[in-house]
Symmetry: C2
């Protein structure tokens, strides 16, 4: 399928069951988001968790009321129940199963949250001429649990998860400048250099994603990662929760440039 498809067309193909895979590389230039759907009983605490931890949990949209499955700000004719290629259903914090449509399990008390993801800033870095190792090696970005505490909110608490991309120092400085413009997709890195300083034991053994090559003249650069709220939700063990499956994102109508604060 042609990757240069509009977000609206892509969402329609997903809804019709014609597209059920990873959205990486599709509808280039448009914001893709992490999805988290929680019962109303947990929603205000999760909202507070996101607002207290904007680097790992940058909220770019949410449903205006429980049961609402549209988020007009993020997409024309968007239906949260059908327009994501694959969903993960959690019960009491445990993964139950994956599905391509959640219409039949939708409930009137569910609140949908969409968080920014690293695809947007990776695109901005690549457009500026930087090599992003996980992209050039065709693997998932390596992600690590750290000892950095997020600010807790109600039943939500977690250590921060970070993603890592190796860069030479002058490129790292440029990446910090570029990512600073995009607080809605994790913003500037949180650390560089010594992994042990933020509690990472082995840079070659990420807890999520895949290890990537780090050349001798490169420094590992660490960004707050959207897996953080997933870990917080797992630990809060809500009775019911739905997320996107890894890599199968909500593709929005927002141009990436729309997220730049300057």
């Amino acid at each position: 399928m042609n990757q240069d498809i509009s977000p609206l067309e892509l969402r329609r193909k997903i809804r019709n069951g014609e597209f059920t895979s990873n959205t990486s590389g599709y509808s280039r230039g448009f914001v893709q988001g992490n999805l988290c759907i929680l019962p109303a009983d947990y929603a205000s605490e999760f909202l507070q968790f996101c607002q207290s931890n904007p680097k790992p949990c940058p909220l770019i949209g949410m449903a205006t009321s429980p049961g609402d499955y549209s988020i007009p700000k993020l997409g024309e004719d968007l239906d949260i129940r059908t327009d994501i290629p694959s969903y993960r259903v959690f019960e009491n914090g445990e993964l139950s199963h994956e599905v391509n449509d959640i219409s039949d399990i939708w409930r009137d008390d569910l609140v949908s949250f969409v968080l920014g993801c690293s695809f947007s800033f990776e695109e901005a870095l690549i457009d500026d001429g930087l090599e992003i190792r996980n992209v050039s090696e065709g693997v998932n970005v390596p992600m690590y649990r750290t000892d950095i505490d997020c600010n807790p909110a109600g039943r939500f608490a977690s250590k921060m998860v970070v993603s890592m991309r190796p860069l030479i120092p002058s490129d790292a400085i440029r990446a910090i400048q570029i990512c600073t413009r995009f607080p809605a997709v994790h913003g500037a890195p949180v650390h560089f250099g010594d992994p042990g300083r933020i509690g990472i034991r082995d840079i070659n053994q990420p807890e999520f994603g895949d290890a990537v090559t780090i050349h001798s003249d490169e420094v590992p650069i660490f960004w707050a990662c959207g897996v953080t709220p997933q870990v917080a939700v797992e630990q809060a063990r809500p009775p019911f929760c739905i997320t996107h499956s890894p890599g199968c994102m909500l593709v929005s109508d927002l141009p990436n440039s729309h997220l730049a604060v300057m």
Copy 2:
């Protein structure tokens, strides 16, 4: 003397011979500049050198015509010949002598250039809560010759000189963000980490200024330095040249915040 003196008052005391020392710490909040005065024959090439190398040579003002000793944009009633505490006079690229007033050696073919200096961004970093080691240790910032080529212009060519301040990584990221706002005072750092990568042999033996303590959890961060154009002028060996003496700057009426691009 009270350091909270207005730039205009300070310049008047300098002009009257009441103040002949280092300007660091005086008229806090206002831009201080490096001075370079060259014969008209060299001026257009030096201007081109500055414009081709904005990080080490950020031009914040220049006289509008040869022989003019005012720069109204930088200061009310400013007289370049008398309002700097100490001047260095160079002949054929060699330091000849230092004086407190250049009225008697002023010539109708002299063109004055003023370049931004690190005092402005150090103040912004300190105001944000960062510790600047050369300030807290009360010494001159360490400066090093690198193997980074500046873009040559006519008779002016030089390797880049950098200044170094050690920071922990998260503070370094913040410093990069803050300094990016101030391109007129060297802007974002040019390198961090391994000194050898930019041709620095021994971090503890700066070519200019003083060594500072680097703690084990800190990384050396390198900024382009205003000593670079001085080196370029030395190497060009113009028959006549006047600069400020180190630390004895032109104190302008521009608030530091005026240099922020956003």
